[in-house]
Structures are given as C-alpha cells and as structure tokens.
C-alpha cells in the first residue's frame, strides 16, 4: 500500500482529472470540480500543471448556459502528446505499430517471424520502428515506451519469456534486450493477456470490468480481467482453458497432457480438428478447410467439428460458471467460423450454466496485437502522467 503524503494526493487528483477528461472528451474546469468534489482552485491549479506538461489543451470557449454566466473553456486530452510502440511477436508474423495515447494506430508494419528469428529479429523490429517514426515525423522523445506480446508464458515482472514454443524461447530476457536497443521502458506479456487489455481499453470490453477473452487457434488460450485488473494467476498461469477436461472418459483414454498441451486443445484446437479430419479423409485438411466442409454439409466434417465444438462450448460454459463474467470475447482465428461457434456456445451455456453471458467476437483484426501491446504499456507504466 502506498503511503500518503502531499505529492501522492496531488498525483491521485491529477490522475482523476485526466481520467475525467479522457472519458468525457471535452469538459470544463467547473464540471471537473463538481464531478470530483474538488474545489475550483485545486482543479484550476492541477489543470494548469497538466496544460503546462502538454497532457491537456484548451480547445476554445463553449456556449454559456441559458441562465447566463461566463463562457466555459473546454479542455481536451492531448492524445498526440506522446506515442506508444505496440509489438506482437507471433509464431508466423511480427506485427508492430505506433499508437497515440487514445489507442489510434498511426502507423503499422509487419514481417515474417521465422526468417529473422534466430538471426536479427530485434534489429528488424528496430528498423521498422525507425521507419514508422520517420513516416510520422516524430522524435525519439515523443515515444513513451513499448508494449510487447508473446505467444507463451511470460514473467511480466522480470520481463522474461519463460516459455514460448512457437519462438523456441526459454527464459529469454526480452525486456532487457529491447531496452538495450530502444532505451525506453518496455513491458512484455502473453499475447492473449494483451488482447484482454486492448479489448478493455478500446474494444468490446469498454466499461466492463469482468471479461474473458478466449483465443482459439492452433491451441486454445484465454486471458481474464477481474475487477478491472488483468489477472495473471499465482505463477503467470491463469486462464489455461486449453487444459480443461470436459469429457472424463475420452480424457482417460487419451492421457493427453504433456508439457504445453492440454485436453481441450487436444480435442477442440485447430490442429486437433485438422488432424482428425485429415486422418478420416486421408488428405491434408486445415482447420479452416474443415469449417468450410462443415458449412458445405460434409458428413465427416460435421461429425468431427461438432464433437470439437461441443467440447469447446462446454469449456467456455465451465469458465462462465466459475467466473460469472460480464462478457466473453472470442478471438484468434475464429473470424470465419464465429457464428457457428457462437451458436454452439450459447446453446451449451443455456443448458449447463447457472447464468448466461454475452459472447461476442473480438473487435480488432490485424491491429489487435498493436493495440494490445500499447494497452499493456498503458496498464503497467506507473509513471504515466507524472
């Protein structure tokens, strides 16, 4: 717990004022004072500090109220004061971009991961960031810091990637490496966690404080926000929905669990679907193709995909039973098959869960990782606004 002193209360009140302005877009000093029950002089003094430090700008006087009175001066958050670099290092591609303080992606880049992975990955990132800086005509000092997402388990406090099979990283101190290169504050977390933060900041989870984000792809992962805070678990291991057991008997037969791969993934993950259908049809079928065949009415595809989806839906339903979220967001490679999955989940949830819960698709496409990275930075950087 933070000890109380004069500086602390000033920081707290400044934060509150900024929050106020960000939420309501254009507000006046008087409105802030009323809303926060702070005195007018206090608000004026703090706002003057915030204007001096470029966090706020006066955007002209507004119309006076009908009962008369001096025209109020509107205040606006200066989202272009600084910028944040958001990076998503995926197994296939590295997606990175620069956002303003409102989370608008001002520039973005993308390059394939594997051909740089063991060679010059960080240099390639640096090169792309420099290129974006040139494009936006911003200086190094305009960038507050960097948020990065990784497909794996990450110790966010130390900035070390504990394990990321897709990148073949084990105990890789990525924060240290990136800091050496950029000389900026860097944060790193699991990509799904970043997605939750991004959805909470700018996406479907705005205004909601209890959110589950489920990423369905090759494997199945999830991130969860509780009481407005990302919950990472005691060992950075929360949200391992891929390990849920939804079918006792099948689980007993398969004994599927080995390091990095759980039961639900083994029956409902993209590669599981692809593998099963490939075997059945004696062909090479991707999970995307499996969903296409499913839509076409292919009997084998329907059987296999239905079985997978039933397990997935039970997993999600179990999540809802335990966690009672306000919202479930489905992300990952589900864009095409969302409506199929959504229907199944709603049916199963209705059948088995004690309460129902909205289920929506993720709000962002290609930019999810960039916004997520920036959201991570926003979430973690303590000195923001100081």
């Amino acid at each position: 717990m933070q000890k109380g002193n004069a500086a602390y209360i000033k920081t707290v009140n400044k934060r509150l004022i900024l929050q106020c302005v960000i939420e309501e877009d254009a507000v006046t000093r008087a409105a802030i004072a009323k809303k926060l029950s702070l005195s007018k002089p206090t608000v004026s003094a703090l706002v003057s500090d915030l204007i001096r430090d470029k966090w706020l700008v006066e955007t002209g006087s507004m119309a006076a109220s009908k009962e008369g009175g001096r025209k109020p001066m509107s205040l606006t958050f200066n989202a272009e004061r600084s910028y944040i670099v958001g990076i998503d290092i995926g197994g296939t591609n590295v997606v990175l971009g620069i956002t303003d303080l409102n989370g608008n992606v001002c520039a973005h880049r993308e390059f394939p991961t594997q051909q740089h992975l063991d060679f010059n990955l960080l240099e390639e990132i640096k090169r792309n960031v420099e290129s974006m800086k040139d494009q936006l005509r911003i200086k190094h000092s305009d960038i507050l810091g960097i948020g990065t997402g990784i497909p794996g388990v990450t110790n966010i406090d130390k900035g070390v990637v504990i394990e990321a099979p897709a990148l073949r990283w084990n105990n890789y101190p990525i924060r240290e490496r990136l800091t050496e290169i950029f000389h900026l504050p860097v944060f790193v977390d699991n990509d799904v966690n970043n997605n939750v933060l991004g959805e909470h900041w700018k996406g479907a989870g705005k205004e909601k404080d209890n959110i589950v984000y489920i990423a369905i792809g090759t494997g199945i992962g999830s991130g969860l926000m509780i009481n407005g805070h990302l919950y990472r678990g005691s060992n950075y291991g929360a949200g391992e929905i891929g390990y849920l057991v939804t079918d006792k008997n099948v689980a007993q037969k398969y004994h599927p669990v080995h390091r990095g791969y759980g039961f639900l993934e083994s029956v409902a993950g993209g590669s599981a679907i692809s593998m099963q259908l490939s075997e059945r049809l004696q062909d090479n079928i991707t999970s995307k193709e499996a969903f296409a065949l499913y839509a076409d009415g292919n009997k084998d595809a329907i059987e296999i995909v239905d079985e997978a989806l039933e397990n997935l839906a039970i997993g999600i339903t179990n999540y809802v039973s335990l966690f009672d979220p306000e919202l479930v967001i489905l992300g990952g490679g589900v864009s095409g098959s969302f409506s199929i999955i959504h229907k199944k989940v709603m049916d199963v949830m209705k059948r088995y869960a004690p309460q129902q819960c909205e289920v929506v698709r993720s709000s962002f496409g290609e930019e999810a990782g960039i916004i997520g990275g920036a959201a991570l930075f926003f979430n973690e950087y303590e000195d923001l606004f100081n």
Copy 2:
C-alpha cells in the same frame, strides 16, 4: 477512485501503522517509521491518535539495543477494544458468536434453524447475542457490527438474500431486518464467501492472495479470492463449481441442470452419492455412510464414490487450470473423507493441470461461520479505524 486530500492521507497512514502493529504484534514507533518510510514525528502523532482512540496500547518498554540508546516503547494492537458478531444461518443450525478484533471467538451459541425459521428466527438471534454480551460483560457500544453468512445467492451491496432454498428465502432483505433489531452496521454474504475471507484472515490462507475454497456437502459450492480481494462475479454468481461439466456424455444423457442444481453436484454432491448408493443397495445410505463403506472396501460403494470423486477432482483441476491459485481449501462436510478426496484430487491434477497447487483442508470446525462472518464485517466495514 478516492480523491486525495489531507484527511485521506492521514487515514491511509493510520491504516498502514495499524496494519504494521497487527502483523508484527509488538513494534516501536521508530520501527514503524523505518518500515513505512514515514518521519518519526508523523508516526508519533498518528500513534498518539490511535492510543487516544484505544486502537493501540503501550505495553511497556523493551530492552535497548546493544549499541546503546534509549529504551523503545512497544506498541500492541488492542484486540479487546471492540467486538464483532459473526452469524452463520445454515439450513440445519444457526451458529453465532462474538469475536475480538483478532478473530478470537470469545463466546458462541447454536440453535436449530428450522423450528424458528418462519417464526422468530431473528428474535432468537437477538436473544443469543444478548446472552453472549452478558457473559462477556460487554456493552452494546463495544460491538462494532455484524457479519452474516447465508447458504444462497446474496446481493451484498443491498444486503438482500436473492435466493436461499434451504431457508426458503427469496429477495429477503435481511440486512434491513437485522439493522432494525440491532442498530449496528450489518453485512450479509454467501456462507462460502465468508469462509474464504475467514481462511484468508485467520486460517490456511493467511499471507496468500489467490485462494479457492471449495465447500463439499449436499451440494458443491466455492468462493474465490483474487489478488487479496473476494471475487463475487458480475451477478454475485462466481464460483459455481457445482455447475461444471466434467463428463460430456453423461451430461448429455442426464440433462441435469435446473434452477439451483448443476451437473457436478448431480454426480458428485453428497446427496448424489447417497441417492445412488441407496438405490444400488436398496437401503437408506447417507453420504457419510457411503464413505465408511468405501473405506471398508464395499465394492458398490467404491464404484460409486470413485466415479463421484473422479468428477469432483476433475472439477477442482479445471478450477486450478483456469485460476492458477496459490491454495485450494476443501471445506464443508469433508472432515472424515478429506484424505480420500485429497489423494484423488492430487492424482487428477497431476494428470491434467498445467501447474500444481497445494490442497488443504479448512482450518476451522464449528467456528468457521463465526470467524467467516466476522471476517466479512472486517472486509466490508469502511469506517473501521476511523
């Protein structure tokens, strides 16, 4: 977010000092100043306030350090300054008691619920509290308030029991009723939630901030603490482990979910075990007797109990996979069968979960509800120490 002002920082610092004293039992002003990085005069002033208000007492001077110097004066938390009433209104019995501020149960009472339920339940509670007050020779003003546990879904903000089948209560405004009778601040929550708070305060969960408490009885329920805060869910519905689906095929056949009763309960709850074995043996077998027969090697008992425990263990394992807690506490009517359940859970967790987690039995017996109620009060009462 709380706005900052002078009164607020004083409250914050007083809280920190009290916390310091409670944690370390006997400390000096100098030690507090060092630990909290507050100046010595500040600590002295706040301590003097706290002594005036009877929260702290000076308990005599301690030995000086070996390097010389004035003898320090030790400060101790005055746990007998005030008392809290803890009540657990169970389906069978009402258990209630008075605790001091350290959570020691100073007096307790118990009476059967049903014969007073529709008649004079609250009067009976009042009578017992008065009797305890006489016994302890404390005045009404010595009692800070009341914390109550209920076997059902509770809106803690309004103090209304939404649904408690065992008490036949629906939308019952119990806080209002108890306040009318006692003229004290009252808080009400689900009994399992109170158990979590109690274990965190005084039991197995001390110093741990991510805890799952699973109550196994007629039904199966759970409460969870995340980042040191009880998590109740978006609709007061978090922790419904009784609704988990652990066996897709059996679930499809049974279609077990109706209001207030979930799949896992229907296959692994006490009444489920009792019912199944009773049918098999054409006799009236309680779940307790079922576990006794299990221990005796009865083949039918083993078959049924094993099946139930396997499902229960998968449910708990799923919980661990999703929440990555520091600790799982098993409570409810498991005292006799704990070691059997524990073994099963550890085996299944090892097999299916991505990480392991300690599993222990609950720390309290009869007093769980009393300590839980007091813990709820402690947790919710904002004006504490003001």
